[in-house]
């Protein structure tokens, strides 16, 4: 009987040890990988310059569309901006910038200083529209196809490796 008790206790302790050991190596960082392959929702976003609205349905006219969420107050956005300018030279890729919780004049100055890579510029003054795209911080970039399907979602500033990856995807 004593032997059975020892076996049960050692199995329990081993199981707890294994679970804790595996959890140590499992760094839980939130990502939105689950969104890849899903369609972006139909949302209306205010245009940056005038009172017009941009409907995400309109992206079906483009072969590929980049949705970039940015702000002038965001330092990583400044860092990624040259890469957005690089992407803007790809002909079958429409660049849509969504200015996030920003001051209009600051955003304008930012684009004047760093260049404007966007074909369409929209704004999300309160940040509520961005929730529909699973945005939780900026910069974030979403690459979609003409069926509005998310092909890639980048959290954080785009680097040259990401630019090359996007180039490859849109060339196929």
């Amino acid at each position: 009987m004593k032997q059975i008790n020892y076996i049960i206790v050692s199995i329990l302790f081993s199981a707890i040890f294994v679970v804790l050991y595996l959890s140590l190596g499992n760094e839980k960082i939130y990502d939105t990988e689950d969104l890849v392959g899903k369609k972006i929702p139909e949302v209306e976003i205010n245009l940056f310059e005038n009172s017009g609205v941009l409907n995400t349905k309109e992206f079906t006219n483009n072969e590929f569309t980049i949705l970039n969420f940015w702000a002038s107050w965001c330092a990583p956005c400044r860092k990624e901006h040259p890469n957005l300018v690089r992407l803007s030279k790809i002909t079958n890729l429409k660049m849509v910038g969504i200015n996030f919780k920003d001051d209009k004049s600051n955003a304008k100055n930012f684009l004047q200083e760093n260049g404007n890579p966007f074909d369409i510029l929209a704004k999300d003054k309160l940040g509520k529209k961005s929730v529909n795209f699973g945005i939780y911080g900026i910069p974030e970039t979403i690459l979609i196809d003409s069926e509005l399907k998310i092909l890639k979602k980048y959290i954080g500033p785009l680097n040259i490796k990401d630019v090359n990856e996007i180039r490859k995807i849109v060339k196929k």
Partner: protein
């Protein structure tokens, strides 16, 4: 008479807003702030938490119920945003392992405390 009407209105308005406030807070407390270290949306004042609070309030005023709001947010941010994960195939172990261990513990204690039969 005027006093009674005034009191009735006062209580109606107070309880009405109390009910809404409770639902807000209940939802905020069950949402994880994705940019914070172990904080709920309720406890955090980060930009993300403030936006989510505002979106939840909008959804409530649109007439959405608690489940619909959780469904909307978990569709956008995954189940990770919910502090109380839903019962799914992938979370069976999470939900049932404690019960299994509890039963196992009872069986273990039963055998441990069982008095040996006294032989004549």
């Amino acid at each position: 008479m005027k006093k009674k009407i005034f009191l009735l209105l006062f209580f109606l308005i107070t309880f009405e807003s109390y009910g809404y406030e409770n639902l807000d807070n209940k939802i905020f407390k069950n949402l994880r702030c994705l940019v914070c270290q172990g904080q709920t949306v309720h406890d955090s004042n980060s930009e993300f938490a403030l936006t989510i609070k505002s979106v939840v309030k909008d959804k409530i005023s649109e007439g959405k119920n608690e489940k619909e709001i959780y469904d909307f947010l978990s569709e956008k941010y995954g189940d990770w945003i919910l502090l109380n994960p839903p019962l799914k195939k992938s979370s069976y172990l999470l939900w049932f392992l404690p019960y299994f261990l509890f039963v196992l513990g009872i069986i273990f204690l039963f055998f441990l405390l069982k008095k040996p039969k006294i032989r004549p």
